[in-house]
Structures are given as structure tokens and as C-alpha cells.
Subunit: 199 residues, 2 copies
Amino acid sequence: MNESRPRGRRPGRADTRSEILAAALTMFSEVGYEKVSLRAIARTADVDPALVHHYFHSKPELFAEAVLSLPLGDPSVVVSALLAGPHDEIGRRAVENLLDIMEMPDARERFSAMLRAAVSESGAQRPLSELLSKEIYSKVAEGLGHTNAKQRGDLAVSVVLGLVLARDILQLQSIGRMSRAQLVRAIGPSMQFYLADHW
Amino acid sequence: MNESRPRGRRPGRADTRSEILAAALTMFSEVGYEKVSLRAIARTADVDPALVHHYFHSKPELFAEAVLSLPLGDPSVVVSALLAGPHDEIGRRAVENLLDIMEMPDARERFSAMLRAAVSESGAQRPLSELLSKEIYSKVAEGLGHTNAKQRGDLAVSVVLGLVLARDILQLQSIGRMSRAQLVRAIGPSMQFYLADHW
DNA sequence: GTCTATATGATGATAGAC
DNA sequence: GTCTATCATCATATAGAC
């Protein structure tokens, strides 16, 4: 019934369905959509491959349920919160908010899986960048009165995706080792520049 | 002999080998490594599938020859050139240099193909980020005397890859429409901040 | 709910005729 | 150089026994 399970790596033994979902999220985020087989997911979850089809009809549906069944927070709330605070620190607060979201359970795995899928699906599927740009960052830039809000929003998206890409997918070590405070200090100014500064 | 053809779909007819290489680069950059089949490449090149194996032994070898047979410029030359100029404009010049390289024949397709491959290969293959970080941007930050040169270099890499990702892979329209001058003005300050500024 | 068996198709790769 | 034919392997997906 899709109750709130203790996601990530479950220590004890949950029900089969949850096992599959957890294994799917892990593998989609680490290996990517195309390259992962349902057999491999079943093997990781230690269940029979046929059960994957039994619970989830197809691979796309499994992906949708395992990684897209979000809410990673309400976008409009984020926009309001950012615009409510001091505008000369909006970049810093945007990064802090992003890192907050990425620290939610499974969030980094889901970001990685979505980005990997968006990259390998050749433009067809890009819920991540669409969401980030249209629902959040472009709205913030628009709220600040910029005429090129869409452009600014997309640049902010490139910062976010560049971070996920470098840290969680390509696993550049020196970025992975940066603390939250370091990331805010490093990336905050870029976000501030893209979203708010005059140029 | 791999002369500078008018890329995309070539109108005239070159020799078979070049046809295959051109089709492979196009499809690797647009569809990604895993998802592209040798049959599909052969179909695009309008040749028999067996010829792909005849000229290039395997899929990895075809990928290597079609997209990795670079030189996209000598990294050490880039580093020297950047460090030789005024340090308070090194970010702007780094972006200009990057855009210069990306305007070379096939460069954008090759960047896209390499990034797509790096993403779908799950860490195994990342010549792009390694090259950019170790050979160029970390060296620049190091040349400027920073102790956290590696970290700065990797952040600069995240900017570059974020741009390629947003513009050439996810095809965010408002970034794709930005002129060279606009990109320099927008991204230059971020590069300056990461590579040179004190923080 | 779980698993065996299997249908169906696509893939990378090879051998060999012309 | 070019193509036909084929192999072995893997994939997603389904039907049905227990």
C-alpha cells in the first residue's frame, strides 16, 4: 500500500515490493536507465525476475514509481521563500535550499537517476530540467523583475545540474568532499549572479 | 581522408568509411553510446551493417575513432595562454577559449558524445572531466597560487559540463539562443570566481 | 505470492560467398 | 569491398503451474 518505508538501504527485511523499489532506485541512479536490466534489479533485490513484472507492469512504470514518485518539496513554496528573503542573498539561500532538498531521503539517488535518464533519453524525457527551470529558477528571476528571466533560470539550472553531474555522477572527488558550508560559499555567488545581479 | 565535410547530413557522397564515422559521431552525440546500435549507425550511413565491423572491429573501437580521435587543442597551450594574460580577466578568457574550441569542426558533437558516454558508463569512462580538470582548469588554479586548486578546477569543470549539458544535450532553448558574447558575459564571472577569486 | 518456462525480438559479432 | 546468413547472448514481457 506504499506506506512510508525507511528507504535507502533497508537493514531488515521489508516486503518484496519495497525491496524491488529500493533496488531499482539504487541501480537506476548508479547505472542508468538503459543499462540496467530488470534481471539485474531483481538480482539486487534478491527476488525472482518475474516478480518485477508482476508488481510493476513494465520498465518505464518501475522507473516512474521508483524515482519519479516524488514530492521533493513544493516548487511554489521554494519560490516564495526565496523571494521573501533579502534579495542580495538570494543566491546563497537558493543553494542552501537546494542542498536541503538533496539531503532528503533518496533525493540524491533520485536526482542522479533523473539526470542519467534525461541524458540517455535524448531530450524526450527531461522532467528534471523542466521542473527546475520553469517551476523554480525562472520564476525567481521573474519575481526579481528581470526581463531575461527564462535565460537566467536556465543558467541557474546549468549550475544545479553541473553540480549533480560533477559530484554524484562523475564523482569528482574534490567536489564530493566539500562540506555544505563550502558548497554554499563556492556556488552561492554564481547563483546570485545568474538570478539577481545586473549584467 | 576525413576532410572537413559540411557536417550533419552530408549531401554529396564520400567514401564508405567516412560515411560510417560521420553517422557514428552524429548518433553517439544525439542518442548516446548504449542506446545506439551498430545497425542503426549503418542505416544512417546507408551502408551494410557488416561493413561497420569490417572497418572498425567493435563498438568501442568505433566510438574511439569517431569521437575520441581528437586533438581539440593542446591543453598545456591553453593553460599557458590563460596564465600569460591578465589574471583579473582569466575567467572571461577561459570561457572565450572554451567557446573557441567548441566552434571547431565536430567539437560540440564530440563533447556531447563524450559527456553522454561518461554519464552512461557509470564512472568507468570519464576522459572528458579528467582531461578538463587535471590538464586544464586545476592547472590554471594552481598557476594562480591557490592551495585548493583541485577543488577550484573541478568547480570550473562543473561549469563547462553544465553548459554542454544544458545547451547541447538537454537543449534548453534560452541557452541555445545565447550568442557568444552573451555566454562570455554570463559565464565568465563564474569562471573568474572559481578559478581566481578569493573565497 | 512466487517461480518455471518460454515467446519474441534486438543486439554485437563472425564466417564466408561474390 | 560488399553483402548474405547466421551465431550466441541478452533484453522485455507473458502464460501458467504450484
